[in-house]
């Protein structure tokens, strides 16, 4: 028998380790692989010889699979390395395939976003070109949910749940004073509004926050925004606004790039989108205003992950192993939604070229005409993805996640 290899790439999510767990479990259950290797820091681990024996970890660490499913960020680390075109420079390819041979790798699973799918495409194309039979399979992940073909991406549901819960808590926080206030919450998403739209799920029978929602899919018009805020202030004391970091004006320019500020050294600094809207409101409306940037917490808060999301990430990892055993290569596993009520998702796959380098936007009809809210279609889409709460083990008052010290360099002795 031969071996398999798995690696992770791109930005962290709280579900990407669950897909890794699914690959490991699938490989073990298939009984088709002797050893499961992990490449540290994506394909870079192959280039600099940093492979981890995951079969050994599975033996050594009690509850390894369960802990892995619930640990945030990336157990194998990440990289931003992009392979060159092999027609121009095939040196890294020769090096990588040499490693594949050395470690007797039959299947390579790469968990990542659309850049990582480009790597899957290049490696599988090269394999075919040189007549190498290795199977190379992509597994999607990104909190941004902007990958094509798949109904949604692992990591999105958990981030959406965190954002909705946080917006509810911000709604409570802002409700306490009987005076007018505006709170702007900046949410990740340079190109697509999936995460910001999910804030709509914070609304319930008493909480109407966020009262306004702005996505990058619709041009942001400052005058309309000011009118929207004024109108909301007529209805609500404390207006909460959810905004994507990537909103752009009518000329396609990022709003955050339109209000650069100068620091004391005279250098122009890009302020965040939330800060920009804060300035706009301060200039135009007499009201207490504050902006909050959820920042990297939305992609790392494993304590608030969605069981639906973590479970699907695991299934996709297992499915990737099955596809490799069926002889497929150069494909990405996908989630196919069969129905919303009951929520049913099947596993499928697609040629990675349908995904690599492409971005899936929120459909215009899922955003209201005014461009300051999402519609029921968006709610129906995202709602099932945030359901279910995991039991998180705590130790000493903080979550008990998997040790990732293998990612640290040996710079210190004590």
């Amino acid at each position: 028998m031969r071996n398999c290899l798995v690696a992770q790439s791109g930005g962290p999510t709280v579900a990407i380790n669950s897909s890794l767990a699914g690959v490991i479990q699938g490989a073990v259950d298939s009984r088709q692989f002797d050893t499961i290797y992990g490449s540290l820091n994506g394909v870079q681990g192959l280039l600099n010889g940093k492979l981890m024996n995951l079969s050994k970890k599975l033996e050594e660490i009690p509850m390894f699979i369960e802990l892995l499913k619930k640990s945030p960020s990336m157990y194998l680390g990440s990289c931003r390395y992009q392979l060159p075109d092999y027609n121009e420079d095939d040196a890294p390819y020769a090096y990588i395939f040499n490693k594949f041979e050395k470690y007797e790798i039959d299947a390579f699973f790469y968990i990542g976003g659309n850049d990582s799918m480009d790597t899957v495409d290049k490696l599988s194309t090269y394999a075919k070109a040189i007549g190498n039979d290795i199977k190379i399979i992509g597994i999607p992940k990104t909190i941004d949910n902007d990958l094509c073909v798949t109904d949604h991406t692992p990591g999105y549901g958990s981030a959406a749940k965190y954002i909705a819960s946080t917006l509810l808590e911000i709604g409570h926080d802002t409700s306490i004073y009987p005076i007018n206030s505006v709170t702007i919450v900046e949410i990740m998403g340079r190109d697509a509004g999936w995460l910001t739209g999910a804030s709509v799920l914070a609304r319930n029978k008493y909480n109407f926050a966020p009262h306004l929602i702005y996505l990058p899919e619709v041009p942001f018009v400052e005058k309309e925004f000011i009118d929207d805020v004024k109108a909301a202030m007529n209805r609500y004391n404390n207006v909460v606004i959810a905004v994507s970091e990537g909103i752009k004006n009518e000329n396609g320019k990022y709003i955050s790039a339109t209000t650069a500020v100068e620091d004391t050294f005279g250098h122009s600094q890009l302020s965040g989108t939330g800060k920009c809207l804060e300035y706009i409101i301060k200039q135009n409306i007499q009201v207490k205003v504050r902006s909050v940037e959820i920042n990297i917490l939305q992609r790392s808060a494993a304590h608030m992950s969605s069981v639906t999301d973590i479970g699907e990430a695991f299934r996709l990892g297992r499915h990737a192993v099955n596809l490799s055993l069926e002889g497929k290569s150069g494909v990405m596993v996908t989630a196919i939604r069969r129905s919303n009520n009951p929520y049913v998702v099947d596993m499928g796959d697609t040629d990675v070229r349908n995904v690599a380098g492409l971005v899936k936007h929120v459909p215009r009809e899922w955003i209201n005409e005014r461009g300051n809210d999402v519609t029921q279609q968006f709610i129906d889409y995202v709602y099932p993805l945030i359901l279910g709460e995991p039991v998180i083990k705590f130790e000493n008052g903080i979550p008990d996640y998997l040790d990732v010290s293998h990612l640290f360099p040996d710079k210190f002795d004590d």
Copy 2:
């Protein structure tokens, strides 16, 4: 029999509603009060006639006490109203005491920070001056933990738990790339470093983040800071820095006030402390740097509260009722730590004048000599306060908190 009244004031915490629940439960159990009233928006509710019948809520809402204990922010709302000196203007006093009489109030419980204790002082002093026998008792709360006499304040333990857990998750997030980076996490605390110091609890057997901790109690010296960061970068790839928003330079000036930036309108804008440190690093060290401001999430994230904190907040509320029945007035209930291992806390009380308007700082000897970390004494102090995880009920994928729509104005019809 007569009635009692309770109100909340100051900024939100996730434990202040648990103290309210403790007051309600204590008042019910005492069988000494007919009706328990709540004043909406602190003493302002008394001035504008917004009282809520909490005894009725207790009958109407199933699991009211349990839900209240776990709901964030302030069920009765807040105010920033400060009473004038009654020797100069006794009009609001006359009005408030008229309401006390009208509603036959025997005891008034005010849950808040050191400004609220000033209100307790003024009202109880006025009561004595006019020979009114009403009992007025303060119950502490503040995430800042800066109230004197009491060992710690309700709200602090939960915020500390959230901060430590979040720093651990940020540690995971920053660990994935094999390149140097610096992440600055700005934490609340204008005058005292209790919250920022609590970030030390994020460290475990593999996570050394935060690698540097800066509190307002020690002057911040830019040159030393740059040296600290460089030294940390020699040991760790990804350096995480926890910093209080209120750090000041050797001249006592807020760091955030030393690097004002100009917006495009030419107005000077105060940037946050985290952003300032980000600029300092960018100017002096070639490294990828990012700043994260935890902002209001640290005081509103009830889903990550400490059972120890929520339980003590409840006990303090109950104890306040007992004190009123013992005939005390003008006092604040306090937590007295008897031992750390096992952790034992008794309830006590102190004259509010020992608390009103005063600030408790982190002792200098709980901070290391260099001023870039806290000591074991700090850890021993804060550790027991974050222990225990509540079972949070979720509905539709988000936490199920108590409806606070009674705090909203009737501006809308639909």
